[in-house]
């Protein structure tokens, strides 16, 4: 129970710091910390497979991709060029208003989620093993599994086409 609070606090704090950082590299690294805490929460939920692929796929692949792009575009130096003609929504006043709206959203969601009492049913006792997930994935969800392979192919082709330089001359 204490572990839940520790992981929850780390993930919420790291996510909060992500959106208030100037340097995008710090944002990416803080998000990796948040993903680590979420992975711990998945272990608490008896989902070791999801915990491991969270680290491998999210922290190990997607965040590394973000880091590549941040360093390719030299993004940390981007913030030093301050724009005088700032959009009105980005000035401190409306920015605080946006944060206030987010706080209202949190309060609303929390109230909506805690209205209904806990029914006390906690089914299942065993850790969901990779065996179970594999059996489900290749029998009941086999079509979706094949479709995601097509999705990844399309994303790959799209990313290459979008990011290449126009050297058509």
């Amino acid at each position: 129970m204490a572990l839940f609070y520790v992981f929850a606090a780390i993930s919420v704090l790291a996510s909060l710091l992500v959106i208030f950082q100037r340097n995008p590299i710090y944002s990416v690294l803080l998000l990796i910390a948040s993903f680590g805490a979420l992975s711990g929460l998945y272990v608490l939920l008896d989902a070791p497979f999801v915990a491991v692929i969270q680290i491998i796929v999210y922290a190990g692949a997607i965040m590394v991709l973000f880091l590549f792009v941040v360093m390719l575009l030299n993004a940390p130096h981007e913030e030093t060029v301050y724009d005088e003609h700032t959009h009105p929504l980005m000035r401190p006043g409306p920015r605080r208003f946006g944060t206030l709206l987010a706080a209202v959203l949190i309060v609303e969601l929390v109230l909506a989620l805690t209205k209904r009492g806990e029914s006390g049913v906690s089914p299942g006792g065993a850790v969901i093993s990779v065996n179970t997930i594999g059996q489900l994935l290749f029998t009941e969800y086999a079509f979706a599994f094949e479709v995601t392979s097509v999705l990844i192919l399309v994303a790959m082709v799209g990313a290459v086409v979008l990011a290449r330089r126009d050297a058509r001359n």
Binding site: S15, V28, T86, A163
Partner: protein, 101 residues
Amino acid sequence: MVPLTYYLVLSAVLFSIGTAGVFVQRNLITILLSIEIMLNAVNLTFVAFGRLRFGAADGQIIVFFVMTVAAAEAAVGLAIVIGLFRHRESLNPDRFTALKW
């Protein structure tokens, strides 16, 4: 045993933080990072429901697909950001006003 409500509240808080990040940020890449925060909050909801309400592995299967979609979307989104940066030499979303009416 942690009740389901705690996980749902945590997921709601993370989702709201991600939404606030999308609106408040001045950097295109950090906006994409906030979208990843939102997707992670949804993943947590799926796993929590799957484990604590249904006792089945279906929640984790859906998380598998959500992660795949998130990876594909991050790749394509970052490719778009690279193209935009080449065009305008800036990562500030306020500079891209071509579609403004």
